[in-house]
């Protein structure tokens, strides 16, 4: 009660705070990181340099950054669409894995075939795989009103079992010395690298591949869908005011299905991009958790395509930084998780000030003071 400030609802959400909150959260995260490095007895300045600057100071580092940000961004775009429609697809990780599995199936079946359509077919399979995995919670939600949060999350833990079965059984590489791995995919089952002379020499020799163009294309498309299409409008009405959507006659079932299928498709495509990109085969454990990271990305990016692009770059940097301090300072990889958590935590905290502001407890105190002398005068 004695805290001199109190929270007070703003008349309208602050536009400035909406933009400032992510920046403020990033600063607080940096400060928190500095504190953590100091507490564990490391040179904070060197650690921060290794974490945030070093990965960006080489072409290779930049290429790795884009390679990581691209799938996170792609998944995030789909999730933003779903979350705007109040459909809580938490299982993008599972949809991504199944997308990767489906694409791997195509790559293994057509192994040795050199044609452009192998990659196209893999993309199609990846999308389809993600959609099928997302269709399960969509069906259960629209038919039996189950929670899509729980169903999609639980399916995320089913997907790795499917992969383990495949890579230790039917799809195991015969020459793989019994390791749970599939064969290495042929060049026509991989996204082309930027290695030819006709590419910008800038990127030559890095691992970055053509899948980033897919993400680049998806950004304006999703933005257009959100802002300009009637289907996108119907979905956001369903998310913002479900009663209004029913009042207007927008089908809730359709919203659930489109939200789940689109987010599942993009997650599946991202998974395909991993097996047909940096990994190049199906492994028993190949996901660095992009599907979960994307959830943080979506919220840090305020459900907006541009915000998601920026925050997925930031999140990719946290991954790279975690790896960098692991090698240069022998700090655990878990640090990138700590930073992710810190960032989300600070953001949620800063978000409070979009709708609220601090006000000094002053006015009431003044009123009490004016009452007191009156009281004594009535007594005398």
């Amino acid at each position: 009660m004695n805290f001199p400030y109190q929270l007070e609802a703003r008349p309208s959400p602050s536009r400035t705070m909406q933009l400032a909150a992510p920046l403020l959260a990033a600063l607080l995260t940096l400060a928190g990181g500095w504190l953590i490095f100091s507490l564990i007895g490391k040179d904070a300045a060197a650690a921060m340099y290794a974490f945030f600057i070093e990965p960006l100071s080489s072409i290779d580092g930049l290429a790795e950054l884009l390679l990581k940000a691209s799938p996170i961004c792609l998944i995030g775009l789909g999730l933003a669409l779903a979350y705007r429609a109040n459909v809580w697809n938490i299982g993008a990780e599972g949809q991504m894995l199944v997308g990767g599995v489906a694409a791997s199936g195509v790559a293994i079946y057509f192994d040795g075939v050199t044609a452009w359509w192998v990659l196209a077919l893999m993309m199609f399979a990846g999308v389809l795989g993600g959609m099928i995995w997302a269709a399960i919670p969509a069906f259960l939600r629209s038919r039996f009103n189950t929670s899509e949060i729980l169903v999609s999350l639980m399916l995320t833990y089913v997907a790795p079992q499917l992969i383990i079965y495949l890579v230790s059984g039917p799809w195991r590489d015969p020459q793989g010395m019994n390791f749970p791995l599939s064969i290495m995919f042929g060049p026509s089952a991989l996204y082309p690298l930027f290695s030819g002379d006709w590419h910008w020499t800038f990127w030559k020799g890095t691992r970055i591949n053509a899948s980033v163009f897919l993400t680049l294309a998806a950004i304006p498309l999703i933005w257009l869908f959100m802002r300009k299409s009637f289907a996108g409008y119907r979905m956001s009405v369903g998310g913002l005011a479900p009663m209004a959507a029913r009042y207007a006659g927008f089908s809730e079932r359709r919203t659930i299905w489109s939200a789940m299928l689109i987010s599942g498709a993009l997650a599946g495509l991202a998974g395909m991009g991993e097996v047909a990109g940096p990994i190049g085969q199906l492994q028993s454990t190949w996901s660095p958790g992009y599907g979960f990271t994307a959830i943080i990305v979506v919220f840090v990016g305020r459900l907006h395509p541009v915000g998601i692009v920026l925050s997925s770059l930031l999140m990719a940097l946290l991954y790279l930084g975690g790896e960098a301090v692991q090698t240069s300072l022998q700090l655990p990889q878990a640090l990138s998780g700590v930073f992710q958590g810190l960032l989300l935590f600070c953001l949620l905290g800063c978000d409070l000030f979009v709708n609220f502001r601090l006000r000094r407890r002053g006015v009431v105190a003044v009123a009490a003071k004016t009452i007191k002398p009156l009281e004594t005068s009535t007594l005398s």
């Binding site: 299409s229 409008y233 009405v237 913002l240 005011a241 209004a244 029913r246 009042y247 009123a367």
Partner: protein
């Protein structure tokens, strides 16, 4: 202007023999957006029934919450029996002897009457002894309620009695009644007035908050009129005319409605033997509802809330289409069966609907007015092969804002930033601009200030004159008598016969609202379960 402003007693300093039960001076409360109370002063004598009259948003409720200790004023002083004090919280208020009956009851439906009352008592209690006291007090005031009954089985009027008895048990010296009659039938209002007069005669002061002028004239000794957070007059209601009271309350004279000659046209909407079982355990099932709605007429459905209005509206609007087992012909629009169509498909047939809840149902709070226009008016060439035509959407919103006098910051203003009356004008305007064949309106002027209410009613009358069939479901009887050609009543999920407005009166409709209408003699509306 023939109202007489009574000056406050000049001998305040000279210490009158009996100090006022409650006296406020200079009470001010500032909220971030508005100054809800600005320098309010008033006095309530012991045993006085004192009206606080004002429109929605005039600051009545804030003032009452200050007196009840639920809100702290920024400035000003409160005297209780001449003693200057601060009311820290509702418990302190109750200790002083201040009781409050809220407009929206604060009862737990799954508990019994006795348990509900016990919960509100600040001291320890013995449920058995308490039950005996409840029976004694309620019998004494003619408020018969059974402490063993569960609250969900009570009618609205009975629930209000529970709230009143709850206050009476604490032996109040001041009872605050916040809009107590908004949910009662005219007969129940009579009963309530008897109880209040009896209480006053025993020395309990009553603060009676209302915007209904006739009630205040009938019941109250004095009235404090508020507008925009200030006191605009202190009057003796019996010496005033309704026009002069309205003048004080609204700041201008009440609007008159232009009625046109009534020429009933073709049947545009027909409902035949509509029965809907409610999913909600506390909802009301509809049984055998039938009516016909003709072009150019306004049909009103009166009734105490919770008697099947929500279920009827959901069935008519298509928000809850009839199950596959029911024949689609149960509801027809322009002769076509629509019973199993959803809300969007019914709209394509020329149906439009203004729901009771504005924010969240009639409009998306966080969306702009332009986007809210798109919500139902997208059939007006706003969408081309799946893409929204922003220019058309904006133009529609601009037309609507202009034609219906919506006070707002333009088409980009968020729906939640508008006052209730202005948002309602926008929603009504959006539906009317689509020139529907059938328009269903629920509570058209609930919570809307008098000026906007008059405007909205006139717009509905004008639309009917252009040949639209209009159904109005309202709890405000006066409103229905003002604008409807024919009136029916819904009680306990059944619809009464439809009467031509000039052949009936509020007494008869009041009886019907209690379930006593021809064809419904055996069914008491209290025994729905």
């Amino acid at each position: 202007m023939n109202h007489q402003v009574i000056a406050s007693p000049p001998d305040l300093a000279g210490a009158p023999s009996v100090p006022a039960r409650l006296s406020l001076s200079g009470v001010t409360k500032q909220y971030p957006l508005v100054r809800a109370n600005d320098n309010i002063s008033m006095e309530v004598a012991p045993g006085e029934i004192h009206a606080v009259l004002g429109e929605n948003g005039a600051g009545k409720s804030t003032l009452m919450k200050i007196i009840y200790g639920a809100v702290r004023p920024d400035a000003g002083e409160i005297r209780w029996n001449g003693q200057l004090l601060e009311i820290a919280n509702p418990a302190a208020a109750r200790k002083l002897g201040i009781g409050m009956v809220f407009q929206h009851f604060s009862l737990f439906e799954t508990l019994t009457v006795g348990e509900n009352i016990a919960l509100a008592l600040d001291d320890e209690f013995d449920l058995k002894a308490l039950s005996a006291r409840i029976i004694k007090v309620s019998a004494e005031y003619g408020l018969d309620i059974d402490p063993q009954r569960h609250v969900h089985s009570l009618t609205v009027g009975e629930r209000q009695r529970v709230e009143i008895v709850r206050c009476l048990l604490q032996d109040p010296r001041l009872l605050i009644m916040d809009e107590p009659t908004s949910v009662l039938t005219p007969q129940a209002v009579r009963k309530l007035f008897t109880v209040l007069r009896r209480l006053a005669s025993e020395g309990c002061s009553i603060l009676y908050i209302s915007h209904k002028l006739d009630e205040i004239q009938e019941l109250c000794d004095t009235a404090t009129v508020m507008r925009g957070g200030r006191v605009t007059g202190k009057v003796t209601p019996a010496q005033e005319t309704q026009a002069s009271l309205a003048q004080l309350m609204v700041g201008h004279a009440l609007p008159a409605y232009v009625h046109r000659e009534h020429t009933p046209g073709d049947i545009l909407m027909a409902v035949k033997d509509l029965s809907v079982a409610s999913d909600d355990p506390f909802g009301t099932s509809l049984s055998g509802v039938s009516f016909e709605l003709r072009a150019g007429e306004v049909l009103g459905i009166a009734g105490v809330s919770g008697n099947g209005q929500a279920e009827l509206l959901a069935a008519l609007s298509g928000e809850l289409p009839l199950p596959a087992s029911a024949p689609g012909e149960t509801i027809t629009i322009c002769g076509r069966p629509v019973g199993r169509l959803d809300a969007g498909q019914r709209r394509t047939q020329g149906f439009a609907f203004v729901p009771e809840e504005r924010l969240g149902r009639g409009a998306v709070p966080a969306m702009s007015l332009a986007d809210n226009g798109l919500l139902t008016a997208h059939r007006e060439q706003m969408v081309q092969s799946g893409w929204i035509k922003s220019a058309v959407v904006r133009a529609f919103a601009e037309t609507c804002i202009k034609a219906f006098d919506v006070r707002c910051g333009g088409p980009d203003a968020l729906a939640q930033s508008l006052s209730g009356g202005n948002l309602q004008k926008f929603i009504v305007g959006r539906e009317i601009l689509q020139e529907p064949k059938v328009l269903v309106v629920a509570q058209p002027t609930w919570g809307v200030d008098i000026g906007a209410a008059g405007f909205i009613r006139q717009q509905l009358l004008d639309l009917a004159a252009r040949g639209t069939a209009i159904l109005v479901i309202s709890e405000e009887l006066q409103e229905l008598f003002d604008i409807c050609d024919r009136i029916a009543v819904v009680a306990g999920g059944r619809l009464s016969p439809v009467k031509v407005t000039r052949d009936t009166n509020s007494e008869e409709i009041g009886l019907w609202m209690a379930g006593l209408f021809p064809g419904n003699e055996v069914v008491s509306h209290a025994a729905e379960h």
